[in-house]
C-alpha cells in the first residue's frame, strides 16, 4: 500500500515510459543519426570516437590469428629462412637493376617532353599497414587497417600492394582505417586499357576475385589478357597503377554492351600487408583535379566531403570522361 503511486509499485510497462514510448524515442534517435550521417556528415566526429573505442575489441579478436602467424614464423627452419633470404636478395638485385633503368628512362622521358628535369615519382610517401583480421561485413568487401589519423591517413586514400591496386579508405579512426576493396559492388575505379588507351570504369562484381566492366560497347577493342591500369580520373587514384587483367569477354549479338570480367592483380583477399600512399597533387600523373573539382576538389575531400564516398557506380557512370588535359 505504501508503494502505491511510487515507481516501485508500478507495473513494468510504466517504468521510464512504456515500451512503445521508449521504442519511438530510440527509433527517432536512430533515424536522426542516420539522416545526419548520410546527408550531412555531421557524425564524422562521433564515428571517429566510436571507431577508436571499437579498435581494442577488434585488436583482441584479431590477436589469435596474429599470434598463430607469429608462432609459425618463429618456428621456421633455418633452411627455409636461408632460401627466403636468397630469394629476397636476388629480387632486390633485380629491382635495383630495374630502378637504374628507370632513372635513365625517366630522364629520357623528361627530355622528350621538353621538360628541363625529370619528374620525381608521383608517390610522395608511403606507409606499410597491416590488415587486422576481423570480419566487418560478410557481404561487403571491407578490411580494417592498423593505421589511422594519427599516422596521417585520410579519407579516400589509395591503398596498394606490391602488385596492384587494393582499394581506398572510407572511414578513418585515430588508429585504424576501414578500406573498401575494389571488388566491393559499391566501388568503381576509372581505368584505362593499357594496350589501347581506351578509358572505362571497372566496377566491383561482388565476388572477391572479380571486377566487371559494364560500360563497354560490344565492338570495343578489348580481349582476354588485357591489363587495366588506373586512368587518373575520378580524383582518388593517380594514373598508371595496375588494377586488373581481363579474363572474360562476352559479345552477344543482341546486347549493345560487352560483358567483360577481370581479375584484380593485387592479392585483394589474401594480403596481410598493404601500402597506404600519399601522392603529389601537382604531378601530371596525380589524380585528376579536373574531375575532382566538379564534386568537391581534392583538398576538401580530406575532410569527409560527400564526394569522398566510395565513387558510386551511378555517379561514375554519369560523368563522361573528360579530355586528358593533364599531360603537357
Amino acid at each position: 500500500m505504501a508503494a502505491f503511486g511510487t515507481g516501485a509499485g508500478r507495473p513494468l510497462q510504466q517504468r521510464g515510459g512504456s515500451p512503445g514510448f521508449r521504442f519511438t524515442f530510440f527509433a527517432v534517435l536512430a533515424v536522426i543519426a542516420m539522416y545526419l550521417d548520410q546527408r550531412q556528415h555531421y557524425l564524422e566526429q562521433v564515428r571517429y570516437v566510436l571507431q577508436a573505442a571499437a579498435y581494442p575489441i577488434q585488436l583482441a579478436v584479431s590477436s589469435p590469428p596474429a599470434a598463430w602467424r607469429w608462432l609459425k614464423e618463429s618456428f621456421q627452419t633455418r633452411e627455409a629462412l636461408q632460401a627466403e633470404n636468397a630469394r629476397l636478395r636476388s629480387q632486390q638485385r633485380d629491382l635495383d637493376v630495374r630502378t637504374m633503368r628507370y632513372e635513365a628512362l625517366a630522364r629520357e622521358n623528361g627530355e622528350l617532353r621538353g621538360l628541363r628535369a625529370a619528374l620525381p615519382p608521383v608517390a610522395e610517401r608511403w606507409l606499410a599497414a597491416e590488415v587486422v583480421t576481423v570480419q566487418l561485413n560478410s557481404l561487403r568487401h571491407r578490411v580494417l587497417l592498423n593505421r589511422g589519423a594519427s599516422n596521417g591517413v585520410f579519407r579516400g586514400q589509395a591503398v596498394l600492394d606490391e602488385t596492384g591496386l587494393i582499394g581506398q579508405t572510407t572511414h578513418v579512426g585515430p588508429w585504424s582505417a576501414e578500406v573498401i576493396l575494389i571488388t566491393d559492388p559499391e566501388h568503381a575505379v576509372p581505368v584505362r586499357i593499357e594496350r589501347t588507351g581506351l578509358r572505362t570504369i571497372a566496377v566491383g562484381a561482388g565476388d572477391i576475385s572479380a571486377l566487371a566492366l559494364p560500360y563497354l560497347p560490344a565492338n570495343a577493342d578489348i580481349k582476354e589478357g588485357d591489363v587495366l591500369v588506373t586512368s587518373g580520373l575520378g580524383g582518388v587514384f593517380p594514373e598508371g597503377y595496375p588494377v586488373a587483367r581481363v579474363t572474360e569477354v562476352h559479345r552477344d549479338a543482341v546486347q549493345p554492351l560487352a560483358q567483360v570480367r577481370a581479375v584484380p592483380l593485387a592479392h585483394v583477399d589474401t594480403d596481410q600487408e598493404v601500402m597506404l600512399v600519399w601522392f603529389k597533387s601537382d604531378h601530371p600523373a596525380a589524380p585528376a583535379r579536373a574531375t575532382a573539382s566538379a564534386d568537391g576538389g581534392v583538398g576538401e575531400l580530406k575532410h569527409g566531403d560527400a564526394a569522398m564516398q566510395p565513387q558510386a557506380v551511378t555517379r561514375a557512370a554519369a560523368s563522361p570522361p573528360p579530355a586528358p588535359g593533364q599531360r603537357p
Binding site: L12, R15, P19, G20, R22, F23, F26, A27, L29, A30, V31, I32, A33, M34, L36, D37, Q38, L43, V46, R47, L50, Q51, A53, A54, I57, Q58, A60, V61, S62, P65, T133, V134, Q135, L136, N137, S138, L139, R140, R142, P185, E186, G206, I208, A312
Partner: protein, 149 residues
C-alpha cells in the same frame, strides 16, 4: 548481461572462412533478444539500441541502421515477453526466426534507401541458422544468468 553481449560481439566479428561466415547467426541480435524477453526491465530497448550502434560502427554503412533494427526487435521482445517465455523452445525459435527476418528486412530497406544495396540472397541465410541456434543459445544464456544470480 554486458559480458554476454561482449562475447556475442566478439563472435560476430571473429574472422571465419567465407562459407561459414554466411551461415553465422547474428549472435549479438540473439543475445539482446534473449535479454529483452527474459529480463525486459534491465535489458530492453536501450540495450538493443546501443548494441545496434556498436554493430553500426563495425559493419554499418550509416550510423543508426542496426540501432533502429535492433530497437525494433527488442521492442517486439519486450512487448511479447510473457507470451514468448511461456512457449516451448520450438515455438520460441519460430518467433526468433520471424524477429530476425524483420531485423534483416529493416537493414535491407535502409541499405537500399541510403544507396548501399546488397541484393545477394546470402544475406537472408542467417535467419534460419539464428532460429536453429536459439534453443541451445538460450539455454547457455539461462545457465550463465542462473549461476551469477
Amino acid at each position: 548481461m554486458l559480458l554476454s553481449a561482449l562475447v556475442a560481439l566478439i563472435l560476430t566479428v571473429l574472422p571465419l572462412p567465407r562459407w561459414l561466415d554466411v551461415l553465422r547467426p547474428a549472435f549479438l541480435v540473439l543475445t539482446v533478444l534473449y535479454w529483452s524477453v527474459n529480463s525486459p526491465r534491465t535489458g530492453g530497448i536501450a540495450l538493443g539500441f546501443f548494441a545496434g550502434l556498436v554493430l553500426d560502427v563495425f559493419q554499418g554503412p550509416v550510423l543508426g541502421e542496426h540501432a533502429l533494427a535492433l530497437a525494433l526487435v527488442t521492442y517486439m521482445g519486450v512487448r511479447e515477453h510473457q507470451r514468448i517465455r511461456s512457449k516451448p523452445a520450438f515455438q520460441q525459435a519460430l518467433f526468433v526466426g520471424a524477429a530476425l527476418a524483420i531485423y534483416e528486412f529493416v537493414l535491407f530497406a535502409i541499405d537500399g534507401w541510403t544507396g548501399h544495396p546488397i541484393t545477394s540472397p546470402l544475406r537472408w541465410v542467417h535467419i534460419v541458422t539464428g532460429a536453429l541456434i536459439w534453443p541451445p543459445a538460450a539455454a547457455i544464456l539461462a545457465y550463465g544468468a542462473g549461476r551469477r544470480a
